[in-house]
């Protein structure tokens, strides 16, 4: 901290607003113009107005009546407040440096301001809000400002990952107001979102994957009038990647647990493994399940095409096929099936493009005897676990694949009492 060259030389008649050396120089120092008005609150709750004359990420230069030395709190938003302490040696009259002691945020504390908090105080966000709302009827201005600040607060939450850009949209054109200029956004999608937001005069949000599939963006469109609005774009690629990683770990735990309790009979597989299941052996029958009457038809087709060496397992295979198809009808509205043979193995595969079984419901859906998310007896999976030798399940938001293996010679039957919970 250097003392102001000007101030050190003479008593300034007015507060040293233009002062270049008032607080530490560097690319992060900002001199808001006009000064940003804030409130300092002392321990007794007494409030002093203050103007931010200059700031960087660790200190403020404030003009205020608040006594120095002293500790104060600056409340910016409900979940964002800053503890500061006035430094008597740095400054004169009513102008002093206030060190930032602690920045309190919803997700923790820090010793310095983050980029967008700093922007907010430096006036660039304030300018954005003011500029965007300037042409609006007065009664709308506060509402819009409030909305934008709420958006900024949300952005603050995920900025730990990466803040993107703030753009102004007007008549089909975008102008970058702040943020990472180097960030390439899918502008076509952005425009579509803004057109919708402005046309319907409501906040729109969309998660968009870049054309190359490498980036995931969270877009917020805030309309101001029928042709203009603000776009907040966040790069959430890393958040998504983290979520995926957690999901993968979760699936691994389920996979092991389910395999263990079913004596290695039921396997959760990933989509690549599921694809492999579809390529083994030769197809001996196939069909679709779109309505209830497709199920007995499938049983008939299967019985006719099943090689003689499996005749003693025909009932088991037909039952499992029916149960799997019934699940597909109930939960995904339909799907397709096939039967394949590889030597002394018959594999039944039933697939749908439904929304999948939620991880949290997976164990109950497959293991608990009378559990079902749809109203039925819910013992279909129990029957399949009993009659099939091996089961492979792949499930996700784009669909579910279930493969059931039947050997020519049956393996030891599973003790259902042990693995299922009877209600």
């Amino acid at each position: 901290m250097r003392q102001c060259y000007e101030c050190a030389q003479k008593e300034p008649a007015s507060p040293c607003v233009e002062c270049k050396d008032f607080i530490q120089q560097g690319p992060l120092r900002r001199v808001p113009s006009p000064p940003t008005r804030i409130l300092l609150e002392d321990e007794q709750g007494k409030k002093y107005p203050a103007d931010i004359l200059a700031l960087n990420t660790t200190e403020f230069g404030l003009e205020t009546e608040a006594p120095v030395p002293g500790r104060y709190v600056i409340r910016l938003q409900e979940s964002l407040w800053i503890e500061v302490a006035g430094v008597p040696l740095k400054g004169k009259n009513n102008v002093h440096v206030f060190d930032i002691l602690c920045v309190h945020r919803r997700q923790g504390t820090a010793r310095r301001l983050k980029n967008e908090e700093y922007q907010l105080l430096a006036g660039s966000t304030g300018q954005l809000v003011a500029e965007i709302s300037r042409h609006l009827p007065e009664h709308l201005q506060d509402l819009v400002r409030e909305k934008l600040l709420a958006e900024l607060e949300k952005s603050e939450l995920i900025s730990a990952i990466r803040v993107g850009k703030v753009l102004k949209y007007e008549g089909g054109r975008f102008r970058c107001l702040s943020g990472r200029a180097d960030l390439d956004l899918p502008m076509e999608e952005a425009e579509k979102l803004m057109r919708q937001a402005t046309r319907h005069a409501e906040h729109r949000r969309e998660v968009i994957i870049s054309a190359d599939g490498q980036k995931v963006f969270d877009f917020h469109g805030v309309p101001f009038d029928h042709r203009s609005g603000g776009l907040l774009a966040f790069d959430i690629t890393e958040v998504i990647e983290k979520e995926r990683k957690i999901h993968r770990q979760e699936m691994e735990v389920y996979r092991e647990a389910i395999s263990a309790v079913t004596g290695g009979r039921l396997h959760l597989v990933n989509s690549e493994e599921a694809k492999k299941l579809l390529s083994k052996g030769v197809e001996i029958a196939k069909g679709e399940a779109r309505q209830a009457h497709d199920i007995p038809k499938a049983r008939q087709v299967l019985r006719e095409s099943l090689p003689g060496i499996f005749s003693h397992r025909q009932h088991a295979i037909a039952l499992c096929l029916s149960e799997a198809q019934a699940n597909v009808l109930k939960h995904a509205g339909g799907g397709c099936w096939q039967a394949r043979q590889a030597g002394d193995l018959v594999r039944i595969i039933v697939q749908d493009r439904g929304s999948g079984i939620k991880t949290s419901e997976l164990a109950r859906a497959t293991l608990m005897q009378h559990y079902s998310t749809k109203n039925s007896m819910g013992c279909g999976f129990t029957l399949m676990l009993y009659y099939a030798d091996y089961l492979y399940l792949n499930t996700g938001p784009s669909g579910t694949t279930l493969a059931l293996d039947f050997g020519n010679v049956r393996t030891d039957r599973l003790d259902l009492e042990k693995i299922t919970e009877r209600r």
Partner: protein
Amino acid sequence: MLKIEVDVDPGVRRVVLNGELAMETIAVLQEVVGKEGEHTLELDLSGVSFVDSTGLKGLLDINNDWQQKGGQLLILHPQPDVAEVMQLVGLDKLLTQNGALTGKKR
């Protein structure tokens, strides 16, 4: 396909089933036997080659409906494959508790 033959004697309604007792046929059976009637409802399953979980659920519902009105359900002569499925889901226990399930051939 499910063929349903009904024969009513005093106190007993005898229903002989032929075919498959499954998702697509159970509703018809439930409609035919209704929720109450004579004291005893006999379902002869000797001609039933296949039953799925929806069919089992239907049998359970019929049993509950008739019991509520003071009646009883007897399931007669299930084929071995069908008996095994019923046993698996515990339907046999439920029905034998009332002395209802009998594997004896007529």
